[in-house]
Amino acid sequence: MKRITVKHIAATIAAASVLGTWSLPVQAEEQFVPLLAYRTGSFAPLGIPWADGKMDYLKLVNARGGVNGVKITYEECETSYATDRGVECYERLKDHAPTGASAFDPQSTGITFAVSDKAPGDKKSILTVGYGLSQSTDGSVFPWNFPMLGTYWTAADVMIQDIAKKEGGMDKLKGKKIALVFHDSPYGKEPIALLQERAKKEGFELLLYPVTAPGVEQKSTWLQIRQSKPNYVLLWSAGIMTPTALREAQATGYPRDKMYGIWWAASEGDVKDLGAVAKGYNAVTIHNTAGRGKVHDELKTLVYDKGQGSDTNGTTMGTIAHTRGMVISMLTVEAIRTAQEKYGKGKSMTTEQVRWGLENLNLTQERLNEIGFGELMRPVKTSCMNHTGDDWARIIQWDGAKFEIKPDWYRSDATIIAPLVKEAAAKYAKDKNLTPVKCEG
């Protein structure tokens, strides 16, 4: 037997280390994006297309060659809409190699609350497109929260504006009755503050009808509506509550075209099975996310035709929730790109740098056209004082088979929302003992 000497070992180690360094490819820069999702549980019908959309766009970005060559890596984590599991997912993914989590989209109000509390300490951004706390628009109190493209106050204000338009002017709202049928939770209560403000200003009467979660029992609510005969009903529902409300409206004879749903209550899945029952039902969409853009064609040729799409059953691609998921991923990716422009193109960005990118996002029409979102969105610009950016919204109407997009574009009235945001954010800062950051300029 050959004797193994120290020399042998040393030589082996040296050879191995040389080989080791050779065999490693040149490390490409990578950027990690966490994907919180709920593909199971009672909200899965909304969660599946949303999650598919988020993942599909990241696949598309990689197929296009990454962000200035930086490849996006991602990992999905199932929350089942449960706060405990969501927090677990957040902790699991927040420091994931190589960069840490670029931005979290928690997809749930409860998880948003819990992780918003942890995010500033961990230096992680929370991107809540169309949900979350409305006052988190104020970046001086909520530096790490980004309720981009619209909050619940945007949605409520847009509904009121559309109603006013139908009635022939804001002054025509005087003496009218508008009911809010809402999921009895912070999610459902979010629009109340704004609606009260609007009711005071325009002189309409606001009727509040809370519905206990999950919302399968609404008989008494709709009986009350039949008695009080509101001119319009705003619906802040989720999951099973939406179809139930529409069926009850039909049973009590309330016209569906006088009903306005929030964007989470207006996915194809919510109304498809109802068909003609829901005919006339109006809903708000974030920007034009019910539309179709070039990005859909590109996704098809670059991802789906190669068999890499997330939607394996061919049911989610092109739905509103899927498009919205893509928009959310697009905002994350564009924030990374914006950060790269400042901190070094083709490099991995730290989570603080991505936060800067989210805060200084400037999506011009040219840029949106370039990435295929030109038809789906209007230009958006964020700043330290305005983490929402330009909150455009459109109204869609169910015609019995599909959602029809109405021609008008609305945005929230800043003279009403801005003071509310300021007040609520100041109260939050006081309760939480926070010193707001100074916004430059």
Partner: protein
Amino acid sequence: MFYRENGQFKTSYRSDQQIFPIRQDRVLVTLLLVLAFVAVPLLASDYFLKAILIPFLILSLAAIGLNILVGYCGQISLGTGAFMAVGAYAAWNIGVRFQGTPLVIQILLGGAFATIVGVIFGIPSLRIRGLYLAVATLAAQFFVDWAFLRIPFFTNYSPSGNVSVPALTFLGISLQGAIAKYLFVLSFVAVFALLAKNLVRSAMGREWMAIRDMDVAASVIGIRPMYAKLTAFAVSSFIVGVSGALWGFLHLGSWEPLAFDLNRSFQLLFMVIIGGLGSILGSFFGAAFIVLVPVALNHIPSLLGLPLGVDTAAHIEHMIFGSLIVFFLIAEPHGLARLWAVGKEKLRIWPFPH
């Protein structure tokens, strides 16, 4: 062989009645405490502390509280989530309305408010028992859920009704880091577990057990059912309230009433049943089973490198978890604590089982 208590003579009542009469147990518990207080903070990652150990410890504490009521006093309760919520919201309100109240005082006062609510909802237990009582405590759950959703005073007029705690400090030390949070929670759990263990060995604990085993017989020998049942409700809801405050303050930081809904009550009841009714140790086992096993199952596919979708993984997790519950309940209906006791007995006589 390992658990032989040969040669450990008790020469005084004191030593005979100590909390862990066998030396091996004392050594084991000391080692466990050293491990938990020293080794874990040094070795565990941020994720492990914040996402696994802290929720596990807090829910163990809640399970201890519930176990006193269900396991020791025999009063089934479905209102645990409600008492947790009372603890959390009361502690938060004290912090907001009396700025500068020390954190520990806030949490203990939260427990005190939960005690009051617990005793009020415990009064029906004097007249009704068994499943009917479970339904009565269910009323506590619905009432408390309703109150925190609808009465704006409790959430300090927050527009959406969610509350958020300020940055926490304890004696000037910031409780933002994972290790500090973990040690704070661990100290609470250790002290309360010790108190609970002692309480169930005391005269009061024996009264509870007498009531549980047969309340008529207990009252014949001079135990006042009202006193025994209401103390059980009081102690139980105090501990549950403290755990609720810890859950809100140290684990979530910001929450809505949904964090303490009926599912939480069920979850805690399952912990107590699976862990072992009438066992402090069982509460830890039950919490470990309910909190840790799903997370561990969820990690398995990615650790093995299986290319499973998260939804498939979640479904498999539910299936395995469900069958594990069934398996354990068939293998040992008295819970994991009983399995542990059987294991100890086996170790005692091993390797000569006769």
